[in-house]
């Protein structure tokens, strides 16, 4: 799981172009959206694409992202349970 968490952080930093943010800067339980990292609705869509491209998980409804992307941990949990790649 730790491996997945680290890999996920690196992928998020890359796809969202979070310059100067290192994996160790992102708290596993901190909110990704709003306060915390301060991501927005477009970033949520980017994460949906990331999940499909890298892990084969296709979300039909963007609103599902609200729960899944709450934090790195919730995202890693969801991927671990549903990944096809």
């Amino acid at each position: 799981m730790d491996e997945l968490v680290l890999k996920l952080k690196e992928e998020i930093i890359e796809v969202l172009n979070l310059e100067e943010v290192k994996p160790e800067d992102i708290d596993d339980n901190a909110p990704l959206f709003g306060d915390g990292l301060g991501l927005d609705s477009i970033d949520a869509l980017e994460l949906i694409v990331l999940m499909e491209k890298n892990y084969g998980i296709k979300l039909q409804d963007a609103n599902q992202g609200k729960e899944i992307f709450k934090s790195i941990n919730t995202m890693a949990d969801y991927i671990a349970k549903n990944r096809k790649k």
């Binding site: 796809v15 979070l18 310059e19 869509l45």
Partner: protein, 354 residues
């Protein structure tokens, strides 16, 4: 169109010359290649890296010059923001397009699409400033900036606005440079960009890119650069350009003798430069000059031309490097700017010193 006095109160540019400064206009750097990219300021001084995570170069440049020009003019919030751009946000368009083709329409990242829509420049400036005023974008080839300028002048004439931010933005990516090379836009080699217009022969110019922001107001300030007296924009005229020019001058109650200097969009391409010749002959070679040797050729280079004219008018002289006869020109109090694109779109802007 003759208009009530409109003042150029703020200016800022990021170009192939020194950024956010007029040094490059007064003493430009020469280049020896046909494709020159912008010299950029350190964007970390202006943006938090996370807040600017999606911003491409063209957006960052536009927001920075917009802010700086407003500071220059001493205005916090303009009544209108209008952008001219010939190609829009090319880099992000290319990223989305290439991914779409390679991935056969799958796994596409929305950020590139959003960033590619051309009006995002004007709207991101507005978001950055919190400006709910009039907002528009024009994409009309080599007359894009003039289209934006005309839009705000019409609003000024109706007294719908008292201040406006007008910007010209274009980026010349390696891919787009290649595309335009196929159409004969560029020389194969450039030995000295500053001598390109004077020595211009044969096909092509050299490519630049940039962001220029101009703040206009119907009120003069002690820092005003120049006054816009009149402007005209027209397509495929039936009359000769000189006849059109005479009509424009008459409309603005000014005789040809009163014009101290004419700034043209000559760029070293013979066909392009030949179109300017009748106007140059009309005023005389000693009263003519150019600006594209400073900024290179790109679809909104004429925004840079307006900035160059304003800087020269403020100091009431034109340095030798910008004159056709290689001699400094002074005093300069009334200036005409003439630009054309492919001998189809033509524009005149008449300026006077304050």
């Amino acid at each position: 169109m003759h208009i009530k006095p409109i003042y150029i109160n703020g200016l800022s540019a990021i170009s192939i010359q020194e950024p956010l400064s007029t040094n490059g206009i007064l003493s430009p750097t020469a280049y020896q290649q046909p494709h020159v990219r912008c010299i950029e300021p350190n964007f970390r001084d202006f943006f938090d890296p996370i807040a600017s995570r999606r911003m491409s170069k063209v957006i960052k440049r536009a927001i920075v010059t917009a802010r700086r020009s407003l500071e220059d003019a001493g205005i916090q919030m303009p009544d209108a923001i209008v952008t001219g751009t010939g190609l829009g946000c090319v880099e992000d368009t290319e990223k989305f397009l290439e991914a779409m083709i390679r991935n056969e329409e799958k796994f596409l990242q929305p950020a590139y699409f959003i960033q590619s829509t051309h009006n995002t420049i004007s709207s991101q400036i507005a978001i950055h400033l919190g400006c709910n005023g009039y907002n528009n974008t024009y994409i009309h080839r080599g007359a894009s900036f003039e289209n934006g300028l005309m839009d705000v002048l019409l609003l000024f004439a109706k007294s719908e606005i008292g201040t406006a931010l007008v910007t010209g933005n274009d980026e010349m990516t390696p891919a787009y440079f290649t595309f335009l090379k196929r159409l004969g836009y560029w020389k194969d080699e450039v030995s000295d960009s500053l001598a390109l217009v004077k020595n211009g022969c044969g096909e092509g110019s050299f490519a630049g890119e940039g962001s220029v922001s101009v703040v206009l107001s119907d009120k003069i300030s002690e820092h005003s650069y120049a006054r816009i007296v009149g402007s005209d924009l027209f397509y495929r005229p039936q009359d000769t350009i000189v006849k059109r020019l005479q009509h424009f001058l008459a409309e603005n109650n000014i005789s040809a003798d009163e014009i101290d200097w004419v700034l043209t969009g000559q760029n070293g391409d013979s066909a392009n430069d030949a179109v300017y010749q009748p106007v140059i002959d009309y005023f005389g070679k000693e009263k003519s000059g150019f600006y594209k040797h400073i900024c290179g050729e790109f679809f909104t280079a004429s925004a840079f031309g307006l900035m160059v004219a304003s800087v020269f008018l403020k100091q009431r002289s034109v340095p030798a490097h910008a004159t056709l006869n290689g001699v400094e020109k002074k005093p300069v109090n009334k200036m005409l700017i003439y630009n054309h694109f492919k001998n189809k779109d033509h524009s005149f802007i008449l300026l006077s010193s304050c």
